[in-house]
């Protein structure tokens, strides 16, 4: 009885120190979030308002999308519609190639991960540089993100230092310009950040185009709002003349009043900051420049019509559910087979392709903590429960679990048989430990076997006339 997630988690759990560090790091973020939540008396009202705004927008999405398009066109922006990942990749490539772009700087976007844009562009000879520090580190190390907001938090600074020394051509030159000069730790975080900053400045200066994602699209004004902590979205769009925004259609909100609600608590939820360091509003192209927005569906409009799972569309990708998830904290991002891990990732993976990503559905103890941190009240654990009900008809039910469930159901539906079984259950106690604790008994992996009492409550009730 195991899944790809449970096996990968078991392998990850072999290194106690790594697991402890991972768990404590992300629980620390959860605690920062809690302090922020406690400091705002209107916290629960904000959650309800945000949930209602998202519900309203998702259920009137066609209208808001048209309004958004009209506004953006009025603002001098080119709007493109992509039905799926393939069309999206083609549109982006066409825009880039028609502008003879050789090098693109990109600020963080989970949508481009979802559509595998980088690989597509690189295969066609366009150099793509991630400019979010975490994403850049992962790109250089050829690793995938292990968290949607803090993608490289699991990477150790020694490995980052080695990677920079190996892959940044003018590393030594940059290092020489670092004040204070040596002696310093070669992997000092401030030093490494300085190296990254200098390295990225060169990339911004040389790029032909800048790409950003979108945290919010405001229908009333046609604004695109991007939240970063490093200002890299602004750098990506300040030097190159061409700006391409990639935006999932579910990112829309109606107006600035709604934006005020989200601005107040999206960063508080995700990273425990009062706000992100930069909240950038893009309304139109720079003088002499061009701005394009690609609106991507890629399965989203299917989800709106799914009564059991439409709420996932409310998600803002803040990462709060991952930080609180006791399973995510102890199994880490790479144990999941979908590129988004944790509670929201389990659900989004199933919506993407249940036959490919069903292995993650086991990674939930149904503790419901995620439901209570989610700033837009996505019913995450209920959705995991629902997906589990689907596994059998999808042909992915675990045979042992199925057998056990059938057996239990039969026993519990026959009270006389159940009572007899109870009377015999203490026989288990007489079996030698080795037999009970054998490999076939998955309970024995982490537990000493329980002792069955001589009499069940049923028997005591009957025999002792309680």
């Amino acid at each position: 009885m195991s899944t790809k997630h449970s096996k990968a988690a078991e392998a990850y759990l072999q290194d106690d120190a790594v697991v402890t560090r991972h768990d404590q790091t992300f629980f620390g973020v959860r605690q920062k979030r809690d302090r922020m939540a406690q400091a705002l008396p209107e916290w629960e009202d904000l959650r309800e308002a945000a949930s209602q705004i998202k519900k309203h927008t998702e259920t009137h999405l066609a209208d808001y999308l048209e309004q958004f398009e009209q506004q953006t066109v009025k603002n001098g922006v080119h709007v493109h519609w992509a039905n799926d990942a393939e069309e999206y990749n083609r549109i982006v490539f066409d825009i880039l190639s028609s502008h003879q772009v050789k090098k693109v700087v990109k600020s963080k976007s989970m949508l481009t991960e979802e559509c595998h844009l980088n690989g597509h562009l690189e295969a066609k000879g366009i150099e793509v540089i991630e400019t979010d520090l975490g994403e850049r580190i992962l790109q250089m190390m050829k690793l995938a993100p292990s968290h949607i907001v803090m993608p490289a938090l699991h990477v150790h600074r020694e490995d980052i230092g080695d990677t920079f020394r190996r892959l940044i051509p003018d590393f030594d030159e940059i290092a020489k310009s670092y004040k204070p000069q040596d002696p310093h730790d070669p992997n000092d975080p401030t030093f490494l950040t300085y190296v990254a900053r200098m390295h990225l400045r060169q990339q911004f200066a040389k790029a032909d185009a800048g790409m950003t994602g979108a945290n919010f699209g405001i229908a009333e004004t046609g604004d695109v709002v991007v939240c970063t902590n490093e200002g890299n979205a602004d750098m990506s769009t300040s030097i190159p003349k061409l700006h391409i925004v990639s935006m999932g259609i579910e990112k829309l909100i109606p107006n600035y009043q709604a934006m005020g609600v989200f601005q107040r608590f999206v960063a508080r939820s995700g990273t425990g900051q009062e706000t992100t360091v930069y909240t950038s509003h893009f309304r139109g192209p720079r003088p002499g420049g061009e701005m394009h927005i690609v609106l991507v569906d890629n399965g989203r409009s299917e989800i709106i019509g799914n009564p059991e799972h439409w709420q996932t569309l409310k998600c803002m990708r803040c990462g709060a559910c991952m930080n609180t998830c006791p399973v995510y904290r102890r199994s880490a991002g790479y144990s999941y087979t979908y590129f988004i891990p944790g509670p929201i990732g389990v659900n989004l993976g199933m919506l993407r392709d249940p036959h490919k990503y069903y292995d993650n559905v086991s990674g939930c103890s149904l503790c419901c903590s995620c439901d209570n941190v989610c700033p837009v009240k996505v019913d995450l654990s209920t959705q995991v429960y629902r997906w589990r009900q689907e596994l059998d008809s999808l042909g992915h039910a675990d045979p042992m679990k199925k057998m056990m469930s059938n057996g239990m159901s039969f026993l519990f539906n026959h009270p006389a048989l159940y009572t007899t079984a109870l009377r015999l259950s203490h026989v288990v106690n007489w079996m030698p430990g080795a037999l009970v604790n054998m490999k076939l008994n998955p309970w024995a992996y982490g537990h000493e076997m329980m002792k069955f009492p001589k009499k069940s409550f049923h028997q005591i009730w009957k025999e002792e006339k309680l």
């Binding site: 195991s2 899944t3 449970s6 988690a9 759990l13 697991v19 629980f27 809690d34 939540a37 008396p41 916290w43 629960e44 006791p326 399973v327 102890r330 199994s331 559905v361 086991s362 939930c364 103890s365 149904l366 503790c367 419901c368 903590s369 209570n372 429960y385 589990r388 009900q389 689907e390 059998d392 039910a397 675990d398 679990k401 199925k402 469930s405 059938n406 239990m408 159901s409 026993l411 519990f412 539906n413 009270p415 159940y418 109870l422 998955p442 309970w443 992996y445 982490g446 537990h447 000493e448 076997m449 329980m450 069955f452 009492p453 069940s456 409550f457 049923h458 005591i460 009730w461 309680l466």
Partner: protein, 248 residues
């Protein structure tokens, strides 16, 4: 007021003393308690494992068996929560499209004593230091305490009741409502993560210096006890009903 006592399957088989304590406690408060003998299981183990269809008939039988009572009381937060939160959906999916008569009146023991009976004094004595185990479904489905994630006034109904016990010292571990990793079949399907969560939870309980871990859910206690014994960790586990009835 007639109370139907619901002793969930695993409590029945493994922890009959918890059932006996619950019965004694309720009777000591002058309540009319009956135990319908044809009861078995609420269906949660199948539901959480992904086979809730196998639980539909059980939910129907549960509803028929317990609907004559004014309240259904169970010494198990998770099972009471399954009846409360999931049985209406199970019965609705049944061909009879039945309304669920018992979901609202099925309560965990702590909830029942705190909210319905509003117990203000007990004759129990338990001169020990106990660490509270706030089990997930008790906290987040039944509202036995304020979830640590939420910005709402702090409360804890388990602690309110235990404070009525003479001689007791009550503490809570760090991360007071983080999951212990049981989760039904989660414990066997994700055994490595489950065991790790259990071990950390037990260590946090031990770090309080308590002699006992107590809570409203024998399933969490069973999981943590199994982990503690396997790891040779020294702490005892006791259901909250046993403390509230200590000395009766």
């Amino acid at each position: 007021m007639r109370i139907g006592l619901f002793i969930p399957c695993y409590v029945d088989a493994l922890y009959p003393e918890v059932g006996v304590s619950t019965l004694r406690l309720l009777r000591s408060l002058g309540l009319d308690v009956d135990y319908p003998e044809r009861q078995t299981c609420c269906g949660q183990p199948m539901g959480n494992a992904g086979f809730e269809k196998k639980a539909v008939l059980l939910a129907k039988k549960f509803d028929e068996l317990f609907s004559p009572y004014d309240y259904v009381v169970a010494p198990s937060a998770s099972c009471a929560a399954y009846v409360r939160c999931f049985h209406p959906h199970l019965l609705g999916s049944h061909e009879a499209q039945k309304q669920c008569a018992t979901s609202e009146k099925t309560m965990d023991l702590v909830e029942f004593l705190h909210d319905v009976i509003k117990v203000k004094s007990l004759h129990a004595r338990f001169p020990h230091k106990v660490s509270i185990h706030n089990s997930c479904h008790g906290v987040r489905e039944l509202g036995l305490s304020s979830p640590s994630e939420r910005n709402i006034p702090k409360f804890n109904k388990i602690i309110d009741l235990l404070k009525l016990v003479d001689g007791i010292e009550i503490v809570e571990p760090e991360r007071p409502d983080e999951c212990c990793g049981f989760g039904g079949m989660f414990a066997v399907e994700e055994q490595a993560v489950s065991a790790r969560m259990g071990l950390e939870k037990v260590r946090r309980h031990i770090a309080t210096g308590a002699e006992y871990v107590t809570g409203p859910d024998s399933s969490c206690l069973m999981h943590m006890q199994g982990v503690a014994q396997k790891q040779g960790l020294d702490i005892k586990f006791i259901h909250v009903a046993q403390i509230l009835s200590a000395g009766l």
